[in-house]
């Protein structure tokens, strides 16, 4: 792990320093042939203790930063690490190919699957190419096209969610970004094949749910899922984007909170320190969670599968049936 300052979060800095020391000693032992295994082991133990300590006390805003971590593995990293083999497919057949939404056919532990997901970029050029992971209408329509293909050939669908939000440029508005997201949710709710969704990093609002109407919705431990980014919420409610930390608390965006609220079914553990410290281990955990889900879903009849999926979303939300008959509008809330 390099301590490249742009890629290290504030609360990661003491950890990164230890990482650097360990790397330095390892380099020296190689160069000079010294035997310093004990020093390394001690430092590594220190680091792991520190990691555990820091990660025990993470606040929702820290999780937000981790979910957006520039070194976090992205959709195609997971595809490469998880699948035996995958072949990307392109285009919505209507307008264009959206580079912020990827998808294709893949083999997962010997079984044929379709995958779709938002893709972010690693460096500046790549980020622009991927539009920072914000998909346009053509992206959502590509995803739907692929999901329908999966249903046609009775293959399950895996959705990887990682987007700050859907694209809201003039062009996206002109081509019906709202309609594309709405149609995806509607079609997914009745798509006759198992669907598993994993929020890998940022589950940003409509952009996320546009590919996340699934039989099983899972979140990575340090991912976030929110109706609005904390900065946006703070800007609108308090006219002060710098209160994003408060908004992150209030919005209940962490995986633990989403699990408690019944919005997700499972949290996928990340390696200590976050998925970016070992993409391989993160991918291994995602892979086994998905396989387990697909095994369970595969046993259900089509009717049962769709009934359960409908009910799953149907039952989300809070309200009260105030005792009837009430005549006056009193504040019974």
């Amino acid at each position: 792990m390099s301590s490249d300052q742009w890629n290290v979060l504030d609360f990661e800095k003491p950890i990164a320093q230890l990482d650097d020391q360990i790397a330095e000693i390892k380099r020296l032992t190689q160069e000079r042939g010294e035997e310093r295994a004990e020093d390394i082991a001690a430092l590594e133990a220190d680091r792991d203790r520190l990691l555990a300590e820091v990660f025990q006390n993470l606040k929702p805003w820290d999780r937000t930063l981790l979910a957006r971590h520039p070194k976090r593995p992205y959709t195609l990293d997971y595809a490469r690490l998880m699948f035996d083999d995958y072949t990307e497919l392109h285009g919505d057949r209507l307008f264009a190919d959206d580079h912020a939404m990827v998808g294709g056919i893949a083999t997962l532990d010997g079984r044929e699957v379709m995958f779709v997901g938002q893709q972010k970029g690693r460096d500046l050029k790549d980020r622009q190419y991927r539009n920072f992971g914000s998909a346009k209408p053509e992206g959502y329509r590509k995803a739907l096209r692929l999901m329908k293909l999966a249903a046609k050939f009775k293959r399950p669908v895996i959705c990887f969610v990682d987007t700050p939000a859907a694209d809201c440029s003039v062009g996206s508005e002109e081509r019906g970004i709202s309609e594309a997201i709405a149609r995806n949710m509607m079609e997914m709710s009745a798509l006759p094949t198992p669907i598993v969704a994993v929020v890998l990093g940022e589950g940003g609002s409509g952009g996320a749910i546009g590919i996340a109407v699934a039989d099983r919705v899972m979140m990575m431990e340090n991912s976030v899922y929110s109706v609005i980014p904390p900065e946006g919420c703070a800007a609108i409610l308090w006219r002060d984007p710098t209160r994003a930390k408060d908004a992150a608390e209030a919005l209940k965006i962490t995986s633990q909170e989403a699990l408690q609220l019944g919005v997700v079914d499972e949290i996928i553990p990340e390696p200590l320190g976050g998925a970016h410290r070992s993409a391989e281990m993160a991918a291994k955990n995602v892979k086994s969670a998905i396989i387990k889900s697909l095994d369970e879903l595969g046993k259900l009849s089509k009717t049962k599968l769709l009934d359960q999926r409908y009910k799953k979303f149907r039952d989300i939300g809070a309200w009260q049936e105030a005792p009837a008959p009430v005549v006056q509008d009193t504040d019974e809330g």
């Binding site: 508005e173 019906g176 709710s189 109407v213 109706v227 946006g232 919005l251 105030a322 009837a324």
Partner: protein, 296 residues
Amino acid sequence: MTFGLRGRSATRAARKSVDALPDGLWTKCPGCGEILFNKELEKNLRICGKCGHHYRLGAWYRIKITVDDDNFTQFDEHLSTVNPLDFPDYDAKIVKGRQSSGLQEAVITGVGEIGGHKTVLGVADFGFMGGSMGGVVGEKIVRAMEYAVENKLPVVLFTASGGARMQEGILSLMQMAKTAAACAKLHEAGLPYIVVFTDPTTAGVHASFASIGDFTFAEPGALVGFAGARVAQQAGVIHRPDNFQKSEFQLEHGMVDRVVSRRELKGVIEKTLNFCLGKAAGPTLLSGDKENGNEF
């Protein structure tokens, strides 16, 4: 979960409805600056006689000018909001929303007759927390749609909303999926689903049940779009065409079927229902009639 008719007549409930117009004799038109007599405006369906500006309507007023002879029975009148996330200041905002709108929540649903067609009707009210969709709005919309499926009735929705309700966080995001899934049930049952965009229809509502109707109409000049101005600004969208996110912009880009003046709206809805169901059909016309239904 139970649902059913637990309502009272539109007239009785409308007594409590809060007028969307400011108090007093006069109103200055935000469209053209003309000073308008409130009484005249009222007679004119709250459309400016000079420039045609459509004022926002309260839900009850809308219902009154849409259904035949006050024929409307409300669903789920007492479904009310809780504060599931313990979100700061939310309780106070709900109370304020109730006081300013005279409503329990931001949407009224029920069943009434439009042009002789028994129709499930949902009308949003911007006066209650900007018409935003939280758990109650989502639940009411879904119950109304499920009622339509069970009783084979068409659905007409008037939307007016700033989007999903932030104060219910991820739960309100899920209302988008929940309502969209209920729309799938409507389409599956071959039932007509008509949406009318009124000012404003944006964000989480525009990007869910509002945008997947069989027929989509919009009132002139309404703000209709995905990202609210502040959100778009934060995302760095600066150069925007003059009519950006207006009904007319959406028409130009193929996203609505017609922009319809409020005066003609009831007529257009009736014609559309006639197209789907036959003239002045009874409530059972659609039974076993899936082939003739309006599957998309």
